[in-house]
């Protein structure tokens, strides 16, 4: 290093975040290896043929006799999944169950988020904590709690029999209704939190102005609150819809044989049938379906980040 350069160095302020730039390599590398890497491999395996071996699929590259590598990809698994009626039904049914669950979450969650956002400021944190608290208790056990409620000898049937409303127990458990209840129950906090964050920031002056100008409370809500809370509605719906599409535990524990969902079928295909390539093709198709909602979620999150 020349003496001039050495003398000049202290004057230029060093990048104070240089260490952070270097340290970033750790989480970056980790996520590349364990988050992005796996998806590329799923893509690869979904193109392979199943064989009875460990691991049970053919290698993607076959080394030919002349030593050249040949791409041994086949779209058979996709052709199978896409032409099978049961799979088609499963995909459509997942869309249906996830969409209805999201809508139900919105119907229950919006008034709650609205009520919390309009509650006395001292009470808001307590109410929010009450919304989040169940989330900290095991998801599996919360779904399990509904098995006790909905069973043939479950609490709801016992209560209704005792009250004389019904003569024979209703079939509640192992139905789509049970799946909806479980979904709303499990994902409600994910709907309420973004809605609350949005409604709480709503400028109260706007609402007052609308009221002063003669709007009735119902009109204020319809013309001011509802349109302004749209970003919160979108965020909440995406946070519920995307994981609900791939849900495994809820349809397996609460649903009936007809409550087929992709997550459940993928799990079965993988563990019971040991058909890894078909499970892989399943996963890629599920991801393809979710690409649009996940992209939307990322877009809205990035925009929200820019605003703050």
């Amino acid at each position: 290093m020349s003496p001039e350069a050495a003398a000049e160095r202290p004057r230029r302020r060093a990048d104070p975040q240089a260490w952070l730039r270097r340290a970033l390599a750790l989480p970056y590398g980790w996520l590349l290896l364990f988050l992005l890497g796996p998806f590329l491999i799923v893509l690869k395996i979904s193109l392979a043929d199943p064989i009875v071996a460990q691991p049970p699929y053919t290698p993607l590259f076959e080394v030919a006799e002349d030593g050249a590598r040949r791409l041994a990809a086949s779209l058979d698994n996709y052709r199978f999944v896409l032409s099978d009626r049961l799979y088609l039904y499963t995909y459509l049914n997942s869309l249906k169950l996830a969409a209805i669950s999201t809508l139900l979450c919105l119907l229950v969650g919006y008034p709650m988020a609205y009520g919390i956002a309009r509650a006395h400021p001292a009470r808001r944190n307590l109410l929010l904590m009450l919304v989040v608290l169940p989330f900290w208790i095991s998801f599996l056990l919360r779904v399990y709690a509904w098995m006790g409620l909905l069973g043939t000898n479950g609490t709801i049937n016992e209560l209704l029999l005792w009250a004389g409303v019904i003569n024979a127990p209703l079939k509640l458990l192992y139905t789509d209704t049970a799946v909806f209840l479980g979904m709303v129950y499990s994902y409600l906090p994910f709907m309420i939190l973004p809605l609350y964050a949005n409604l709480e920031r709503l400028d109260p002056d706007l609402l007052e102005a609308a009221a002063d100008l003669g709007s009735r409370p119902r009109q204020v809500f319809r013309d001011v609150t509802l349109p302004l809370s749209f970003p919160g509605v979108v965020a909440g719906c995406l946070l519920v819809f995307i994981p609900a599409m791939g849900e495994f535990v809820i349809p397996t524990l609460l649903g009936g044989p007809e409550s087929l969902m992709i997550g459940r079928v993928l799990f079965e295909e993988f563990f019971a049938n040991r058909d890894w390539p078909v499970a892989g093709a399943d996963a890629v198709l599920l991801l393809a379906i979710l690409l649009v909602p996940i992209g939307l979620f990322q877009y809205f999150e990035a925009r929200r980040e820019d605003e703050t």
Binding site: L20, L31, P38, R118, P217, V249, A279
Partner: protein
Amino acid sequence: MKRHGTFVLSMMAFGFAFLYVPIALVVLYSFNGSSLSTVWGGFSLRWYGELFRNEEILRAVLLSLRIAALSASVATALGTLAGMAMARLPRFRGRTLFTAMILTPLVMPEVLTGLSLLLLFVSLHDLFGWPGARGGSTIAIAHITFSTAYVAVIVRSRLTGMDPSLEEAAMDLGARPLRVFLDITVPLIAPALLTGWLLAFTLSLDDLVIASFVSGPGSTTLPMLIFSKVRLGVTPEINALATVIIVIVATGIAIAARTMRRREARHAERPAPLGTGTG
């Protein structure tokens, strides 16, 4: 002016009842002496006795706690770096990809994460002979991966709401970057670190699907054990186990909430000179 319409109030009452009645019933039935899950057979601690004598459950609890503590700690370290980078570095190479990778695990269905990670482990094993056997360590790697994203989001939102002038002042006074990080930044974001660690710990303890994929023979975590037991119906022992978990979680949250409220109260009643604050 009335703050709430009747509709909103009744929806809130309904919503909170909906959230809490099922949990309350599990707790109630855990004290049921009858082995018929929903027929009340008098108050009894029978299921708690069976629970604490069940070695299979205790082994699963220990394995799950070990994985959760390890993955929460590593995820908090990685997630803090990731969150700081997102909040403090306006641009770096691959920022878009990085942000996408942080946001994806928040919504990714677990079957996808689990299946893809298992296939990665199998491929790595074929290529490098690592990981030799799947079990606790592969589950921990999987949990670190998604927990890092949650911690990063929490740390980022805490940092973006924070004035960087304290750190800049320390830097101008000649403190080295690592000093500034340890002495200024970490104490300031401590609540976010605690929340992140607890969340990562809970997410790890809670995970059934991903662990089922990446686990190997002999490594049964608590959710895997619970799932195999409840798959066929209601089990009184699991009611007792759920009650124990609920009590621990509620106590933990109450303590965390109190600590944070105290901290905030202490911050509010400044300016006390640094170092003279009482605990």
